[in-house]
Amino acid sequence: MKSVKLSTPALLLLPAFIVLAAVIIVPLVFSLYSSFTPFRLTKPDSLWVFIGFRNYVAVLSNWEFWIAFGRTVLLLTIALNAEMFLGLGLAMLVEKATRGQRILRTMMMFPMMFSPVLVGFQFKFLFNDNVGFVNNALQSLGLTDRAIPWLIDVNLAMVSIIIAEIWSSTSVFAILILAGLMAMPKDPIEAANVDGCTPWQTFRYVIWPYITPFALIAMTIRSLDVARAYDIVKIMTDGGPAKRTELLWTLIGRTAYGDARMGMANAMAYVAILLSILFTVYFFRKLAAARQQIGAEW
């Protein structure tokens, strides 16, 4: 019998393939399979009952799921845009600093160093209606005499979560955009000044096209992050009260572990991944266009 002999390149690549298969492909295929079963963590035998698309039909016709989906898109849109504007402003200010720029850059990264769980606890305390800092400050300043239910009110609860998200991640944008600003050649700006451009024109037509790819990379990274938002929300409101701040992953997390319905949760997760894919494709297209505009090769 002739033994199969692998070529040297294939042999060299084999360990990488095995590792990839073990840590990515196998869990993915397994979770995809389990989304077609009524798998409950407490009933291991249910993993072998195939129910076809029943979970998917249930997810797609579940109104609560779609509300959570819509709310996640809303959070993504508001948080990403706000982070982008604030990050851009911060990066431009830091870039202008002639002294102490390194210290400023390090300070700017502080929020990124906090674990999201800690950020969640910190903002949960800040926004606590009874002993929280925000309400106490507002009451002491005489701006209000009542306890504002930040984490309860139908609009304020989402606003509080968005503020926590923005605080923790604006620096991602700031750092990437700052890298863009620092890598940018200075001659086009000088040429624009000589040609008599206003500061706004210089920014809009010279600086912005250069830094757009950096901003879009930050957008892509953060869109994946926010679409998976869990830790901060879990700590601050856990999707409540009355599902007012329920996001995709708080819902999926509760279904998977609280309710032990892993099959259903996996089906939800696969539908939710669509959201991440959509945003990633959108930003990558934008990125390609932006790079073309500044003449870089894709």
């Binding site: 009524p38 798998f39 963590l41 407490t42 009933k43 291991p44 993993l47 606590n128 209606d129 009874n130 002993v131 309400n135 009451q139 005499d145 009542r146 306890a147 504002i148 239910p149 930040w150 984490l151 309860i152 409101t237 856990d238 409540g240 009260p241 009355a242 599902k243 509760r254 572990y257 609280g258 309710d259 032990a260 319905r261 892993m262």
Partner: protein, 438 residues
């Protein structure tokens, strides 16, 4: 008198001999055996685990603690173990609210523990630990039922007494019914600086509070046929209690986001008049280092609902032995050791309630001379007489997760109590149907 003394002496000797007799059987000898355990972790639980070393010395066995986590985390880990078929450990911490979720993994302890030892536990707790005829755990000295804590000074203020009597037509004394709690809470409330009362507002906590209020109003959570029946008139009355207090701003605005720690800290901050809470807080509330109301705390048996029945949602921690354990006798001996009289005396000295009758008596005796401790023990002993566990359903936590957002929706005014309870009952019914129970 002499006769009486002799009787007592004889009793003591008999008791000592009986204990010595038991000690010969238990803990037993298990040289070379290693018991893997998954235990609940946390400051308040650690003291007991120091006694494991002593058990190891006596039996010659070894205990290998695989994980120490809070119950929610431990629950996830156990579920993952069940899912992957890796229940290779022997002893696990358990809880009455979680136990029905794992019907098959724990063994029946009845044949492994002497009957007279089982008889030494509070009978209700042994009953609540028995699922489908199997005694799945032995309760440790972490029995939980709530009693009513209140600020004493509010009831000594003559001005308040007069004003209250004029308004409500009866004397201002610590409340005995939930209707009185409502009156008094509304009377004391002065938001945003002072609140009449408060309640846990999410997850199993609010569902549990609603459950006990429902029982006190004469309703049933699950009827005789196993169907959810909490959307009854009694259910609406029970939920309306929470809704009214929230609407009238008698409770803190953030209460639907509060869990036990927030409530404990809130009452200790001195900004709440009445607080239905667990025994574990008793010391904390009366300690000047942690509480602004130390020295001003009163404790009373939990109030009664309109049916005359008192609230009494209870839960308790315990230890279980797995069905797959290779040495069940050794594991059961460890479980017995952790729940025996000495262990319970040690654990309950810090405040938690024991699950053995003799330890109750011992604690009350030991508290003599300490007025606060005696008041606490008496109140909780009375409270524990009214205790009842959650319905023994594997789906209890799942039903809680489906019901609590609806309770919150009613409390926040998004739905009426009836609408919310109907929606919740539909979801709970679906869960039970999916599980093949209906």
């Amino acid at each position: 008198m002499k006769k009486l003394l002799c009787g007592v002496c004889a009793g003591v000797i008999a008791l000592t001999l009986a204990q010595a007799g038991n000690a010969a059987e238990l803990p037993g000898k298990f040289d070379g055996v290693t018991i893997d355990a998954k235990l609940i972790g946390g400051q308040q639980y650690e003291k007991l685990y120091e006694r494991i070393g002593e058990w190891e010395k006596l039996t010659g066995a070894k205990v290998n603690i695989l994980s120490k986590k809070n119950h929610f985390e431990l629950d996830k880990e156990i579920k993952s173990d069940i899912a992957t078929g890796s229940i290779s450990w022997c002893v696990g911490s358990n809880h009455s609210s979680f136990a029905p979720q794992y019907p098959d993994i724990y063994t029946d302890l009845t044949p492994l523990v002497p009957a007279e030892e089982l008889a030494a536990f509070v009978p209700n707790l042994i009953k609540a630990s028995t699922l489908d005829g199997k005694l799945v755990m032995l309760p440790r000295a972490q029995f939980d039922v709530s009693a009513l804590y209140y600020q004493k000074s509010l009831y000594q203020d003559e001005e308040k007494k007069t004003a209250f009597k004029a308004k409500y037509g009866y004397d201002l004394t610590p409340p005995d019914t939930w209707a009185q709690v409502t009156d008094q809470a509304e009377f004391f409330a002065a938001p945003p600086n002072f609140y009449g009362t408060q309640f846990a507002g999410k997850e199993e906590a609010i569902n549990g509070r609603f459950y006990e209020m429902l029982v006190a109003e004469g309703g049933e959570y699950i009827d005789g046929e196993g169907k959810p029946s909490f959307n009854s008139e009694a259910g609406v009355r029970a939920l309306d209690w929470f809704v009214k207090l929230y609407k009238d701003k008698v409770v803190p605005a953030g209460t639907t986001n509060y869990l036990w720690d927030d409530l404990g800290q809130g009452f200790a901050s001195g900004s709440v008049a009445l607080n239905l809470d667990w025994p574990g807080w008793a010391t904390f509330f009366n300690d000047p280092k942690s509480s602004k109301i130390a020295g001003n705390v009163g404790v009373k048996v939990q109030p009664a609902g309109s049916s005359g029945k008192r609230t009494g949602w209870s839960g308790f921690h315990g230890f279980s032995v797995t069905e797959s354990c290779a040495n069940k006798e050794a594991a059961a001996s460890l479980v017995w050791w952790l729940t025996n009289e000495d262990s319970q005396k040690l654990e309950s000295a810090a405040g938690p309630l024991p699950s053995r009758t003799a330890v109750w008596e011992y604690n009350i005796e030991a508290a003599k001379g300490d007025a606060y401790k005696t008041e606490v023990l008496n109140a909780f002993q009375e409270a524990s007489k009214n205790a009842f566990p959650v319905p023994p359903l594997a789906e209890w936590i799942e039903i809680s997760n489906a019901v609590y957002p609806e309770l919150q929706a009613a409390i926040l005014g998004d739905k009426t109590s009836k609408e919310a309870l109907d929606a919740a009952a539909t979801k709970a019914t679906e869960i039970l149907e999916d599980a093949g129970k209906l």
